[in-house]
């Protein structure tokens, strides 16, 4: 089973990397970019086929390691 965990910065948290990327996009002349926030994507392969169990495991992974919930939110998707 394939899954994806997306980790993003909470709103209100300063994101200097996102700001730098935003600046670079603007200087490249990419039209219509209002703002950029950067984050992380984890593609995870799971053994087993129980969806509920998988979701639980992914949430545990995100809470324990993949995200720092002080500053980040995460989203779990089974693909």
């Amino acid at each position: 089973m394939k899954a994806r965990v997306t980790v993003t910065l909470k709103s209100g948290i300063l994101d200097p990397q996102g700001k730098a990327i935003e600046g670079a996009l603007k200087s490249l002349g990419v039209d219509g970019v209002a703002s950029v926030r950067q984050g992380k994507v984890f593609d995870i392969e799971l053994s087993g086929s129980d969806k509920a169990k998988a979701e639980q495991a992914l949430k545990a992974a995100a809470d324990k390691l993949l995200a720092n919930t002080v500053i980040e939110n995460y989203r779990v998707e089974l693909l």
Binding site: L14, P16, A20, K64, L65, L66, V70, I71
Partner: protein, 233 residues
């Protein structure tokens, strides 16, 4: 003072730290590998040194914070043991939940490697008793992610409870925007936990302890810890 210096893959300041600890206490520090599950018997002080544990993968300090030895460090701290985290060590302590907040990318996105000044905010803690309150000391920094951030409520608590021990300042001791080179909230360079036995700081006091280093302003921190432990013994 029996100190234990934790060693993670990718750490590179552990020997500087061990040298400073020996200079201050006259005792060799124990080097403790991350995969260990216990600290040496009779440890008085645990030090989490600087460097780039696990290549800063995922987030600075995130993987080291989940190493087996960290459970022993959490127990040690819960029993009132003294813990000092410097640079990557500060990041590891935040990631492990021993200290609140997080160290974010420096506000101007640059890795900063130079001497900075910081003001000692109070002198009545084991980590600052070697200094006078208000004293300005010069110490080196070397980090790309030292911008301390926490939510408003946490910052309010840190300030209200006097838990900011070190703050970036000008050479004259003025805390201002210009001296806050990494953009840290409230110019925070170092904080303690609620109980006052865990300190995390970004600058490297261990690199200013001998004349040959050009400055000995870092000595006070280690001398203070030794004095505290001798008094407690």
């Amino acid at each position: 003072m029996k100190s234990a210096v934790l060693v993670f893959p990718g750490i590179n300041r552990e020997r500087d730290m061990a040298r400073a600890l020996k200079l201050a206490s006259g005792r060799e520090a124990a080097m403790v590998w991350h995969a260990e599950t216990a600290l040496p018997e009779g440890t008085d002080l645990v030090v989490v040194p600087g460097g780039f544990s696990y290549g800063d993968y995922l987030r600075c300090g995130a993987i080291a914070a989940r190493a087996p030895i960290m459970d022993a460090v959490r127990d040690f701290a819960a029993n009132g043991g003294l813990v000092l985290g410097v640079c990557n060590g500060f990041q590891i302590l935040c990631e492990s939940g021993l200290l609140p907040g997080v160290l974010m990318r420096n506000a101007r996105l640059k890795f900063v490697c130079r001497d900075v000044h910081m003001r000692v905010e109070r002198s009545d803690t084991p980590f600052t008793r070697g200094y006078n309150a208000g004293q300005v000391i010069r110490v080196p920094v070397a980090h790309g992610e030292g911008n301390y951030e926490a939510d408003e409520e946490t910052l309010k608590r840190l300030e209200g409870e006097g838990r900011v021990l070190y703050r970036y300042c000008s050479p004259k001791g003025v805390v201002d925007e210009a001296s806050n080179f990494n953009g840290a909230a409230h110019s925070i360079a170092g904080i303690i936990n609620e109980r006052g036995n865990v300190l995390g700081m970004m600058p490297h006091p261990e690199n200013h302890v001998e004349d040959i280093m050009g400055c000995t302003d870092g000595r006070g921190l280690f001398a203070g810890l030794v004095a505290h432990l001798e008094e407690a013994a």
